[in-house]
């Protein structure tokens, strides 16, 4: 365990099987602090399955996952998230009845000093902490250009802003690893450009490592320094965008192989 102390996320030989169906087989990967890694692969390659075992929605059938050296297997999702990992969702999952500011504040709940009793007593330390939280949430919203919308219901935001709010909410949890699940899905080209800038800014300003699952090659190739390619539940390639682009296995996975019937994969 101590040999890989430097890795932020260390996935070791993870497999996930549903009965006879193998969603992931023998997947290993590491992410270092501050790194921006893209995870790509054709539909059904196992990207979402990998996300689900990382976040604790599913338990891997075999293998182990270490977050900063701490084993995450067997922990419920909320405890895994407290190990320093936050995520966004492919189909946006904001808290619809809460306004924009409150959505961000929910990220502070896991790290609150005051619990039930102090929240009811509303003493001085409670109010100080509430002030600090609303200031911090306000600062984050302002940084991402959402401060005007702070009191609006989150479901009334335009689509691109909802995606952005989800990222802000995840960042408010002060993660060391941010998992973005297809953040560009459903965005128009100009929104995608904005998203690329946003992700680059998150890295430089917050120093958060990012694992980005994305279909859109332009987004992924443009910003990631390292790519991991999944196909049929296996890691088939890993390297810089240029290497990946030239890798015949990747091309085969995406476009199919011309004349090799029943290749031994």
């Amino acid at each position: 365990m101590s040999s890989m102390e430097s890795a932020l996320l260390d996935v070791r030989n993870c497999s996930l099987r549903f009965g006879g169906l193998s969603a992931l087989s023998d997947v290993s990967l590491t992410i270092n602090p501050g790194e921006l890694v893209g995870l790509i692969g054709p539909n059904g390659a196992g990207k979402t399955s990998l996300f689900n075992i990382l976040t604790g929605v599913y338990q891997p059938t075999s293998g182990e996952i270490l977050i900063e050296g701490r084993r995450s297997a067997g922990l419920p999702p909320h405890l895994i998230s407290r190990l320093g990992m936050a995520r966004t969702f492919q189909n946006i999952r904001l808290f619809g009845s809460l306004n924009v500011g409150m959505n961000v504040r929910t990220s502070f709940i896991a790290r609150l000093h005051h619990g039930l009793i102090r929240s009811v007593r509303r003493g001085r330390t409670f109010r100080a902490e509430e002030d600090r939280i609303s200031k911090e949430a306000g600062r984050l919203l302002a940084y991402f250009g959402l401060e005007e919308a702070a009191t609006r219901p989150s479901r009334s935001l335009p689509y691109g802003d909802q995606r952005r709010l989800e990222i802000v909410r995840a960042l408010a949890a002060k993660p060391r690893l941010l998992l973005l699940d297809e953040p560009a899905a459903g965005m128009n080209p100009s929104e995608k450009d904005q998203l690329r800038l946003l992700i680059a800014r998150i890295r430089t300003e917050f120093g958060t490592a990012i694992l980005l699952v994305e279909h859109d090659m332009k987004v992924v190739m443009g910003i990631c320094e390292r790519l991991i390619v999944l196909d049929q539940g296996r890691v088939i390639a890993s390297g810089t965008p240029a290497e990946i682009r030239a890798n015949p296995k990747v091309i085969a996975a995406y476009l199919g192989e011309p004349n090799k019937k029943g290749a031994d994969r």
């Binding site: 969702f89 999952r93 809460l98 929910t106 709940i109 609150l112 619990g115 039930l116 009811v120």
Partner: protein
């Protein structure tokens, strides 16, 4: 009237001020109650008890989104616990004091009795909620329905508490101060809770459990907490009820009673404590007006619920109420109170 109105609006903007004002009103009501006829006093006490029940169930159903059909059972636990304490335990432990409804000994000891009733009900809430809150929707509804019946049948077959005959001759300790004060404290607790960052956890669980867990929120613990707090206040309401009507029987805490509380929560607009409190008062009054209809009351309830679902007056009233509240400080205190609050 204006005093109680400003207390309600103070609840919305400055909870602690609202609590103080509310308790003051409860005390004033008690002082003035000598001039009221017993019937009016009784109805006001029932209204206050219903406010406690509805506002506490609202935390479970409205704020946390968990369906519970056994609120009356928690009420029963509180009612029987406190009736046993004031009827049997206290007189035998402290025989020198005078145990009548208005004696100072019973009035002073009523606060710890209420707390005991609440804590016992909370324990019952923990026992039911702990295992069953891992279930969702219909399944949770079934478990809570079953628990409600279990409590009722247990009470019916326990001779110490009178079995199906019930308990009579309970000390009439409850007065307007205790009932209205209890309602005020309940409303304050819920408002303070729901406004705090911690309390947003209940809403997060209601809106999206998966997202809540991904944000590090322990969804099961929030659901159980809501259930236990709800049960605690239901127990207190039960205790107040027992010491107001002086007679309790298992049938008084059956499923229909739970349903009546659910009606109040729905009419009040699920997740709006003030609205739910108002609905509880209105349903109590409605109960009195429809007394002659007896069994047909339920038909009227059902009709009202259907009408509310179609017309949704809550959604129309809520913005109006918020606007009124935001204007009120400037009406009562000149222009000093216009500083915007933390958005909620």
């Amino acid at each position: 009237m204006t005093l109680s109105f400003s207390a309600l609006s103070a609840f919305s903007t400055k909870p602690r001020l609202g609590l103080a004002a509310g308790l003051l009103i409860a005390a004033l009501l008690q002082v003035c109650s000598a001039g009221l006829d017993p019937y009016t006093t009784q109805v006001m006490i029932f209204a206050a008890i219903n406010v406690i029940l509805a506002v506490s169930l609202n935390l479970v159903m409205g704020e946390t989104g968990q369906f519970s059909l056994c609120h009356a059972a928690f009420m029963a636990v509180g009612a029987y616990t406190s009736a046993m304490i004031t009827g049997k335990a206290l007189p035998s432990i402290l025989p020198h004091f005078q145990w009548t409804g208005s004696s100072w000994a019973s009035q002073i000891s009523f606060l710890p009795v209420l707390l005991c009733a609440g804590l016992t009900a909370a324990l019952a809430g923990l026992i039911v909620g702990g295992p069953s809150l891992r279930l969702r929707g219909d399944y949770l509804a079934m478990v809570t329905l079953g628990f409600g019946e279990i409590i009722r049948v247990l009470l019916q077959n326990t001779n110490v508490v009178g079995g199906a005959r019930g308990m009579e001759g309970i000390l009439p300790v409850t007065n307007l101060f205790w009932a209205v004060g209890g309602a005020v404290v309940t409303l304050y607790t819920m408002m303070a809770l729901v406004r705090s960052t911690y309390g947003k956890g209940f809403h997060a669980v209601r809106d999206d459990e998966i997202a809540a867990a991904a944000m590090g929120i322990d969804t099961t613990s929030f659901k159980i907490t809501a259930f236990v707090i709800g049960a605690f206040f239901a127990g207190i309401a039960g205790s107040l009820y027992a010491h107001a009507v002086e007679f309790i029987s298992p049938e008084g805490f059956n499923f229909l009673r739970s349903f009546e509380i659910i009606v109040m929560v729905i009419l009040g607009g699920m997740g709006r404590p003030v609205g739910v409190a108002v609905a509880a008062i209105l349903v109590t009054l409605l109960n009195e007006w429809l007394r002659d209809l007896s069994g047909y009351r339920m038909v009227v309830y059902a009709l009202i619920i259907i009408l509310f679902m179609i017309l949704r007056p809550g959604e129309r009233l809520a913005p109006w109420w918020r606007q009124l509240v935001s204007r009120l400080p400037s009406l009562t205190r000149g222009s000093a109170g216009t500083k915007p609050e933390i958005p909620s």
